[in-house]
């Protein structure tokens, strides 16, 4: 099913909000796809990083429902390669924060299986909590 996107002022507000949070000029992205090609988590993502940028350019709030931004590992590979000098990890972080600041955590540490919690090093828990909870 092809989706229809209606452009209204709300779209512009969303784009501006993400630009403020991330400090990046999202309209600079020319959709070349370099970021996606180097992303280690791409196989798991429902939308690609460049697709995520494109949806933000259009101010499409549905991007917040994607899994992609949660699957980002903040590895900065996209950042060091982007030919337009954009920092996508900051954009992904901003999208996550839009959800987290509403009090909607992505993960509940307490619900992880016990044997996992026993084996996981602190560093995994700290960084995971930093990225996945508000």
């Amino acid at each position: 099913m092809t989706e229809k996107v209606v452009i209204s002022d709300k779209n512009l507000e969303f784009l501006e909000k993400i630009e403020r949070l991330s400090g990046e000029v999202i309209t600079r992205c020319d959709q070349c796809g370099t970021c996606s090609g180097g992303c280690p988590m791409i196989a798991e993502m429902d939308i690609t990083p460049s697709q995520m940028m494109h949806m933000v350019q259009l101010g499409h709030p549905a991007v917040l429902d994607s899994k992609a931004m949660w699957l980002c590992a903040s590895c900065f590979m996209c950042t060091v390669r982007c030919p337009r000098g954009l920092d996508l990890s900051k954009v992904a972080e901003s999208l996550r924060q839009m959800k987290l600041r509403q009090g909607i955590d992505y993960i509940d540490i307490g619900k992880l299986p016990e044997h996992e919690l026993r084996n996981l090093p602190q560093i995994a828990l700290v960084s995971g909590m930093r990225k996945f909870t508000g």
């Binding site: 370099t34 970021c35 996606s36 090609g37 690609t48």
Partner: protein, 811 residues
């Protein structure tokens, strides 16, 4: 609106015109108010505003007014004098006045445009600019243009297709051409190509006849394997020094029979023309259709030349014409020309900088230029590389990429990749070809159709920029990882050969030419044209023109067109046998001169001499920089068109309305670099402080310590002087003199307890837009923080010393 009244100042009848510039000015500043304001100034008998002063209607208005109202001087508040100055000078000449009694108040590039967000302040500033310009023009002298003779000799640097075309156009027009090429053969990169798009003409076949024409044209003096070492002088009188590198082969005797190559034991010299894909012997010819088609010896590979003594020498022993000469030396050649065309071409991007693609590490990753050679050899039935079945092209390698500092698009790569893919498909229909692009630029005549034909042949165009290349350690095939942005899938495909569509950059040899000729470079690194729209082949130096890829990436049709354009521009200057120069020359107030001779060494052109105990200036040699003025302790030296009196009146007028707690800084901008830079900043609409007035000077050294002290005395809170960098300055001494003058003033300020940081200087390059804005803003911020200079301190400046220099009325 028109203001007309009897002039109270008997000597002047000034007409002022305020231009709307089609909204460019009037959208920001109140032009009616400006016209009224101008009308109230002393000496102004007429003041009007108009939508387009530079149009026929506008110019006719001035001409009519000159006649009807007996105007003797004109001020036009409009764009930059760099832009339409010439136009209005011609207008005045048509109207019967000297072209040197018109001055322009730059209220567009240096007011309305940068201050687009402060209309009220912009209007106030425009008033100050107009007042200052009127003050200057009151003292303008009705000078006449001088003419200098010019001959018909042209230096063309670089003999690729651009240089070749220019040389032929000029030679055929009866001009004498010195064509200098650093490589042992002419032809440039075009000689290396297989076919050219979109016609798929064989490149060598269409180039060869032109190369032969160069050799046979009686007006073209070709010097290959030669480098420009120095160029001194100016339009009509460029003294050129060329060094011819030793070939160790006498080209008059050599018949290129090839016997020496058969005998030479050193067989592994990488062949530069073949991009290192094959080798040649130490004695070699550049390539098979080279002009001149003569041998030369690589001095680093040759056994005799590296080891000396009686080593080897087989070529000399076997040469039937006895053409080998191991004692060959570099030869210095000097000659004089009237104009110069720079056609020094491009280098391809060094793909090893883009490490993710593995060039230089992976066997099967090659550049497009290497592929050209592979195709040429394959076509000749002499394949040098097995390309395999699946070939991938990566576009935008070294273009449109901030990570390698090449933001621009190289223009030709989309088309040349399409061409290479078409040729490969045609010669191998079983091949599977992919071009990975971000945008496909098929802008020229027949280009879109060519792209469609390639698609028809089965070449696949995938929209995605390749992220990385990984080599299979066993098969050496290369896997490319790329997002197909149109289907949002990640492609990981294995290729037998990967071709990098490398971009263009300014050639290394061009960088040396930039230093020697003192011409400017654009922000993208290529050579800078004088004006992007209307002077695409001129440079900032009169008589020096550009042609071809040295000015920016372009294809062959555009290169040839530009070469012919540059030739036409050169012919335009040379055809009349003389050209006009601005009478910006130094002169001496003899009554003030006491023959102390301090000025003589101050002139970089040795234009000052002493006669009957008075200094005098040789007008033909004088460049009009104004450096001599600072050297005179009695203020006897002066400069036409920028006299001491004029500058003082300008300064005073610019500060007249300043209130005591206001901050205002004066920026003296040299005409060659800083003034143009300020115009560029305005054109780019980059804002900076409105509390600044720019005063045009011919060079930074024109601003003497006395002028600076006067400016501070009259109310300036900060002074900035801008000049060119040494290497792009037409006035070699001006940077040094400017800095010395600034130090002198700082010392005086220090003594008088005024912050010496209020006076600054900087040498600008015409591309430093951000630097210019920062410099002005920083000085304004400093002055703001330090506060306006207290009146008592101002009074102390300029006492005694200046009375001597300028007479009573300026104390």
């Amino acid at each position: 609106m028109m203001n007309e009244k009897e002039s109270s100042h008997q000597d002047n009848r000034i007409g002022v015109y305020v231009c709307h510039c089609g909204g460019n000015i009037s959208d920001v500043v109140d032009v009616k108010r400006l016209a009224e304001f101008a009308g109230r100034q002393e000496g102004v008998v007429l003041s009007k505003d108009n939508t387009h002063m530079c149009s026929d209607v506008g110019q006719q208005l001035i001409i009519d007014d000159i006649a009807e109202h007996h105007l003797d001087k004109v001020v036009i508040a409009a764009c930059s004098p760099q832009f339409q100055g010439e136009t209005f000078m011609t207008t005045l000449a048509t109207g019967g006045l000297s072209p040197y009694v018109v001055e322009m108040a730059n209220v567009r590039e240096q007011c309305a445009w940068p201050h687009f967000d402060s209309p009220e302040k912009a209007t106030e500033k425009a008033e100050q600019l107009i007042r200052a310009t009127i003050a200057k023009v009151r003292l303008s002298e009705p000078l006449e243009r001088k003419t200098m003779p010019i001959g018909k000799r042209v230096l063309v640097i670089g003999a690729g297709i651009a240089g070749i075309q220019a040389a032929l156009d000029l030679g055929d027009s009866g001009f004498e051409v010195y064509l200098v090429e650093k490589n042992p053969s002419i032809g440039g990169h075009m000689a290396q190509l297989s076919r050219t798009f979109p016609t798929e003409d064989c490149s060598a076949c269409i180039l060869s006849p032109k190369m032969a024409d160069v050799r046979t044209n009686p007006n073209v003096h070709l010097s290959t394997y030669s480098e420009i070492k120095a160029v001194e002088g100016y339009l009509g009188n460029f003294k050129v020094t060329v060094e011819k590198k030793p070939r160790y082969v006498d080209i008059d005797k050599c018949i290129a029979c090839g016997i020496c190559e058969e005998k030479c034991p050193v067989k592994n010299v990488p062949d530069q023309f073949e991009e290192g894909l094959t080798t040649h012997t130490a004695i070699y010819t550049p390539f098979d259709f080279a002009v001149p088609n003569k041998n030369l010896i690589d001095p680093e590979a040759c056994l005799r030349l590296t080891r000396g003594g009686k080593v080897c020498g087989l070529c000399a022993k076997s040469c039937p014409e006895d053409a080998i000469d191991f004692n060959d030396q570099p030869e210095k050649v000097e000659f004089t020309v009237d104009t110069i065309i720079v056609a020094t071409g491009f280098d391809i991007f060094d793909a090893s900088e883009k490490k993710v693609y593995g060039y230089g590490k992976f066997d099967n990753v090659i550049t497009a230029l290497e592929m050209e050679r592979v195709i040429v050899h394959a076509t000749e039935g002499n394949p040098i590389r097995d390309l395999g079945k699946r070939i991938g092209f990566i576009q935008c390698v070294g273009s449109r990429d901030e990570q390698v500092n090449r933001e621009y698009c190289s223009r030709v790569c989309c088309m040349y990749a399409t061409k290479l893919a078409s040729l490969l498909k045609h010669s191998g229909p079983q091949r599977d070809l992919y071009i990975f692009y971000t945008d496909l630029r098929a802008f020229g005549k027949g280009y879109e159709e060519y792209y469609k034909r390639a698609q028809n042949m089965g070449v696949k165009f995938i929209r995605g920029r390749v992220a990385e290349a990984i080599e299979n350690s066993d098969s050496k095939k290369v896997t490319l990882k790329v997002e197909d942005t149109l289907s949002r899938q990640i492609i990981e495909a294995e290729f037998d050969t990967v071709v990098l569509s490398v971009g263009m950059g300014l050639s290394k040899s061009s960088e040396k030419i930039v230093e020697i000729l003192r011409i400017a470079r654009s922000q993208d690194g290529f050579l800078k044209e004088a004006h992007p729209k209307f002077k695409p082949v001129d440079t900032n130096r009169e008589g020096v023109f550009l042609a071809g890829t040295a000015q920016g990436p372009k294809d062959i049709p555009d290169t040839v067109a530009q070469a012919s354009a540059a030739s036409a521009r050169a012919i335009r200057l040379m055809n009349q046998g003389e050209y006009a120069i601005e009478p910006i020359v130094a002169f001496v107030h003899k009554e003030l001169c006491n023959g102390c001779e301090l000025c003589v060494p101050a002139c970089p052109q040795n234009a000052i001499s002493i006669s009957s105990n008075k200094a005098q200036v040789n007008e033909a040699l004088c460049l009009g920089c104004g450096s001599c003025i600072s050297s005179c302790p009695r203020g006897a030296h002066d400069l036409h068109l920028y006299t001491n009196s004029q500058l003082l009146e300008q300064i005073q007028a610019a500060l007249e309305d300043k209130k005591e707690n206001e901050i205002r800084i004066l920026l003296f901008a040299d005409d060659t670099c800083t003034y143009r830079l300020a115009d560029s900043v305005g054109t780019a609409k980059m804002p900076y402080t409105t509390e600044s007035i720019i005063i045009r000077v011919p060079s930074g050294s024109r601003v003497t310590p006395a002028l600076m002290l006067h400016a501070l005395k009259f109310g300036a809170d900060g002074i900035f002087i801008g000049d060119c960098e040494e290497r792009s300055s037409p006035f070699p001494h001006s940077g040094r003199v400017m800095k010395e003058n600034v130090e002198k003033v700082k010392a005086i300020l220090q003594q008088e307890n005024i912050e010496p940081e209020r006076v600054r200087s900087r040498q600008f390059v015409t591309v430093m837009l951000g630097g210019f804005v920062n410099s002005i803003n920083e000085l304004a911020d400093f002055a703001q923080a330090a506060g306006s200079i207290p009146q008592e301190k101002r009074e102390k400046l300029g006492k005694n010393k200046n009375k001597e220099l300028f007479g009573e009325k300026y104390d």
